[in-house]
Symmetry: C2
Subunit: 263 residues, 2 copies
Amino acid sequence: MKDITQLSPREIRLLIRKGKWDKPTSGLGMGYAQANLVILPEKYAFNFLLFCQRNPKPCPLIEVLEPGRFKTEFMAFDADIRTDIPRYNIYRKGHLEETVKGIKKLWKLDFVTFLLGCSFSFEEALLRAKIPVRHIEENKNVPMYISSIPCKRAGLFHGPMVVSMRPIPPDKVTRAIQITSRYVSVHGAPVHIGDPSKIGIRDLNKPDFGDPVTIRKDEVPVFWACGVTPQAVVMKAKPDLCITHTPGHMFISDLLNEELANL
Amino acid sequence: MKDITQLSPREIRLLIRKGKWDKPTSGLGMGYAQANLVILPEKYAFNFLLFCQRNPKPCPLIEVLEPGRFKTEFMAFDADIRTDIPRYNIYRKGHLEETVKGIKKLWKLDFVTFLLGCSFSFEEALLRAKIPVRHIEENKNVPMYISSIPCKRAGLFHGPMVVSMRPIPPDKVTRAIQITSRYVSVHGAPVHIGDPSKIGIRDLNKPDFGDPVTIRKDEVPVFWACGVTPQAVVMKAKPDLCITHTPGHMFISDLLNEELANL
C-alpha cells in the first residue's frame, strides 16, 4: 500500500470506503479541509440548522445535504457520507450506543447530513506562520473544555460551548488571532484569550476531552470554539437518533483549506 | 415631531409601529444596521434556511425567529416584526398581492421570520473611506440587475442572483473590496468587478430594479450580491404565502453596522 499521507482526498476516501482505514485522519490529505459530521432525522433538521446559524463559531456549516442525500455536492466529488468516514458514533436518546465503520444499513430516507468545519484547517495555517501548535508537537489530541459560555438555544438544542485550547507565546498571540480570523468557516477567531477561569475552566491540566498539553512559562492559553460542541449539545438534547463522526475520524474533503479562508 | 433622522432605532420603530412613518428607511438610524425581511410558513422554513446557508452572499442571515415568534432576540430590543417595518409586501403563490403597513391580522403561529443583512451597512463604511456611492450622491435607488450567476438550489428555492452595482474610481476599487470584505453578514466582498456582460448584464443603463446611475469615464462597475435575491427567488418558488418588507422599507435594528463587521 502506498503511504496514505501521500494519497489524494479521493483516494483516501476510497480506502476508508473499502474498510482499509479506520483510524484518525489527522495528518492525512494535508492542505485539504476535513469536516465534522452530524446526521439527524428530518424532524430535528430545522432546529439544528437554526442552532448552527445562531452559533456559527462552534458550528460553522460548510455543507448541508437535503433529506436522504448521502453524496456531497460542494465539499467533495463522488463522496458517500455513509461509508467515507473511518468511524461513526451512533447516539440514541443522547446516549452513545456504538461506534461503527459504516452506516449504510442504518441509513434512512429522512436523514439530514450536516458537515461542519474543523480546526485542522487553521492549525495548518498557524504552523505555516511558525506559530507552535503544542498538541501536534506532543503528538496528542487537542485539549478541550466545557466552558461557561452559553450557546444560543434553538428548539431542543442548547448547552455550553466546548472550546479547544492552544498555548501561544505572548509575542505571537496577535498573529494567531489574525490568522485564524481569516477562517470563519473553521471556527474563526478565538473566543477567549488568557485567564481560563473567566470562561469557567478550573484546571487546564484536566481537559473534559482530549489530552492535557505542556504550557510553558509566559505562554498564553488561547481558546477557540470547538467542533465537539454539537456532539455535546446532541447528548443533552437527546434526539431519538444522531450519527456523528467519531472524534478525530473526520470527513476528508476535496476543498483546500485556503478555499475556506474568507480573506 | 422631532427630526426623524435624529431618533434612535427604537424611537423610529415606535413611530413606524404607530403608523406615523411608512416611507423608505434610507438615511434613518445612521450607524445602525438595517435588515431585509422574509416571512414564510413553517413548511418552507427548512428549505429557505438551507437556501440561505448555501447562498450566504445574497442571503446573509443575521437572525431567524422560531415558528410563531415575532419579537427579535438579537437584532433589537422590544421590536415587533409584525408592526415595526414601514411597508410589507404580501406574496401569494409568487404573485405580489398587496402592500400593507402591518401584518398583525395576517399573523399565523407557524410563521418563521428571517432577517437578512442589507448593503446600507457597507455603504456607510465606503462613504467613511471617501469612496463615492453614486446612487446616494444622485439621491436614487441603487441599480440592481438579474445576473447570470446561479444561486445554489435548496428544495423549491432557486434562481439567478440579483446584484447591485456601484461605479468605483479605478484607484479605489481595491479599497472598496477590502472594506466590504469586512462585512460578510451584509453581502460582503463583490461578486464581480468590471465587464457586466461576463455576468449576463447587457445594459447598465437598464437595471431590472432601482434606478440607472451615472458612470463616469474610467470608473469600474463593481457588483455585489443583493438582498433582492430572496424576493426574486420567492417569486419563482411560488410558496402559498410569503411576506417581505417592501424594498427600501427595512427593519431598523439596534445593532451598529460596526458590530456586523467580521474583522
